[in-house]
Amino acid sequence: MDAIARIESELRRRLGADVKGFESPTPARLFVDIDRRAVRGAAKALVDLGARYMVGIGYDEIARNGTLGLVHTFAFDADHLAVALRASAPAAEPVFESITPDIPSAGWTEREYQDLLGMTFTGHPKPKRLVLADDWPAGIHPLRKDVPYNLVPPAAEDVAYQLDQAPPGTTTIPVGPFHVSLHEPEHFAVYVDGETIKGCDYRGFMTHRGIEKLCQTQVSYNEVPFVAERICGICGSVHAVCYAQAVEAAAGLRISRRAEYIRTILLEIERLHSHLLWLGIAGHLIGFDTVFMQAWRVREKVMWLAERITGNRKTYGMVLIGGVRRDITPEIRAELEGLLTALEKEVLVLKNAVIGDTAIHRRTKGVGYLSKEETARWSLIGPVARARGLSLDARKDHPYAAYDDMVFDVPVVDSGDVWGTLVVRVLEIFESIAILRQALARMPADGPLLTEVPEALPALRHGLSMVEAPRGESVHYVITGEENRPERWRVRAPTYANLQAVPQMLLNNQFADFPIILGQIDPCFSCTDRVAVIDARSGRRHVIGRAELEGLSRRPAGGRS
């Protein structure tokens, strides 16, 4: 019996008439419509069958049928299948049973829709505000369609987030909202006894930009990929590809094999530079700046590789629905192959230096430990999960783009600590280089870059897509709309899943290890290269090149170069 049949029969057996219907547009997707009373039972049934929770999606259908919709998505990785449980509740009484007591990683999803859509989740263990600012007025739920995208309610004074009660006998160390080991504003209140961490409360979402709302109301289908790229400074293409795939899946589009290969190349370039970036940051976080500098020096090669293909070091602007915008010509291909050989040599030196360094072992082995069972219970993904014995990789489990053609390993170790995530990432660099070589060698020479897309995409279709970002799986869920833009677009970056378990990993570690334990899930920041200087008087535009920029940055202030 195949997986879909097994899941269908199990859900029918456990929930009976609460299951309203099944829909399986492809063998890799199963949408299940259920009554809202059955949400927790159905979620539990899927988890009992071995599912991994991905994310929930809430949406406003008040204008259409007076309800608020809720989708919980699950992955059956071994069966290469994703399942979406769809339910809805009347807007007058938008109450669902919380699934967080069974599935801890659903905690944020439910808190998010409590904020953004005004849903209520009965039995949620920590129903605190998550996304909305502390001074946002109660009762305004910004993802509802009657709230304009540019609403700015008046700011309120003297409103602050109430931190969790500190465990008795502990001191609170405020890590954030601004702290050198964080690259973005977020606030961890770390409760320590001496230097031992006894607990932690998290308040984030301080720079929530409302990108989903913006794209659901203001832009069109093919503009969204460019917004999506700006979700993350590191894995821009991941989000653009993931979004495009979700729309293509919803609309039933097939794109050319060549475009899929080019997308694969983009995604692997991002993984390469992201992992090297992470390695550097990890070195910095344990006070080893030499690793930082050397890893970033090597990374520079990858940035130039990206620039050669796309014209940009970051934020490539390559992806559209139906394909990609630029080709990889045979000349560039030959150049890239040479670059990859040079890169591999440098990474090998780096790997030998880092993997064999006992001083690094001392700071990473046994740090931030989480057992395999806990990792599965928290639905962790990416290198964080692969360092804890779980072989999860969307490239293998839910193949997309051209990954079904690629031969590569998914490195898995079971040390369960920060060291494991380091080893996994370093090994993945070599796999990425191997994938890039295969993709460049086998890329079909024919086929359109951009497949023709019909004038109007069918409305109200659901599409779900997963892409393995450098830090783990990104999930995008799209409901197609009637006005040439998504009716609903939900993004879940991998950090959303992994960050929720950080307090768990911090427990009973030393405060000195806080930066690297948080760092193992890989925070991100972007980098820019060139500056255009315009002389205001003459209007002459002068682009400063790399050598000149380096010279400028080295010249003492006011002095000669």
Partner: protein, 300 residues
């Protein structure tokens, strides 16, 4: 003449300590494939800091007193030091214990400032600094006591120049190893820059300091580093002696330069340890240092 030597000491330390810091930064940069700042950058840094307004952010006298106290104590230490293999007018009137006291006074001033700043990160930094002080300073004390045991006098000259007068012994060799291992902790560089660890506790004891107060602390740290590097050369490398005062100053400075390069190399090829890991290493160092003194008592 020996009064003049006091001023030579103070002047040379004040002038050269930032230079050695610059050397360390350059060496570190080279290891990291960087060009690095100009070698005189620490002077610019100090001048900039010393030229700023003084802000008493903690609003109490202890916070204000700590930086000058730390700086004064390290000035006193270098004034006493038998620089150029010669006891000066002040050094001849004190014993080795005075040096240990004055060095500890500097450390205590840092703690005082940290605790007076009433900042959580400073408090963590201070507690780490305290542990480091309690566990690492004994190695310095033992080094001087070893000399005192071998020469039978606590006089500064005897304690520092025991190797020069009596030659190497097994005890000296063991102490030399202990001192070298403790050196990174003395100068607060990786793997023992734990109290300041900017990524964890944001420069720890110094987080609330800015402007001239912070500048004095930086200067204090640089002078302290130079003193510990020089002391290694003076105690353990007697073969650098030339017989003349000026010649000895030059060879000792050259030796100090090499020690700084060594510190920078070790610092740039090691991650920071956690305090609980460091404490175990310090404990071994204390035992080794005690063992060396024991050997000296036994006459080995």
């Amino acid at each position: 003449m020996s009064i003049a030597a006091v001023f030579v000491n103070v002047l040379l330390f004040l002038l050269l300590a930032p230079l050695f810091e610059g050397v360390m930064r350059r060496v570190t940069a080279r290891v990291q494939s960087r060009q690095g700042p100009p070698i005189v950058q620490p002077y610019y840094d100090l001048l900039k800091l010393l030229g700023k307004d003084r802000i008493n952010s903690a609003r109490n006298w202890a916070f204000k007193l700590a930086p000058p106290a730390a700086f004064a104590s390290i000035l006193a230490v270098v004034a006493l030091a038998p620089f150029g293999s010669k006891l000066n007018a002040l050094g001849a009137r004190v014993d080795a214990i005075t040096i240990v006291y004055l060095l500890t006074l500097g450390g205590v001033s840092v703690l005082l400032g940290a605790l007076a700043s009433r900042n959580t990160f400073a408090a963590i930094g201070a507690s780490r600094e305290m542990v480091t002080m309690v566990m690492v300073e004994p190695v310095l004390a033992m080094t001087l006591i070893l000399g005192a045991v071998r020469t039978g006098s606590l006089g500064l000259g005897q304690a520092v120049f025991s190797t020069a007068s009596l030659g190497y012994s097994l005890a000296t060799a063991v102490m030399l190893a202990a001192y070298l291992l403790a050196l990174q902790a003395f100068v607060a560089k990786q793997p023992f820059d734990i109290a300041e660890a900017e990524i964890e506790v944001l420069e720890g004891p110094f987080i609330e300091y800015s402007g001239p107060d912070y500048g004095l602390f930086r200067y204090y740290m640089m002078m302290k580093q130079m003193f510990y590097a020089w002391l290694f050369v003076a105690v353990f490398l007697p073969f650098l002696r030339t017989g003349s005062y000026a010649g000895d100053i030059l060879t000792q400075l050259a030796g100090t330069f090499v020690v700084f390069v060594l510190i920078a190399l070790v610092g740039s090829t090691n991650p920071r340890l956690r305090i609980d890991q460091a404490v175990k290493i310090y404990a071994v160092l204390i035992l080794v240092a005690l063992g060396a003194v024991g050997l000296a008592v036994a006459g080995v």
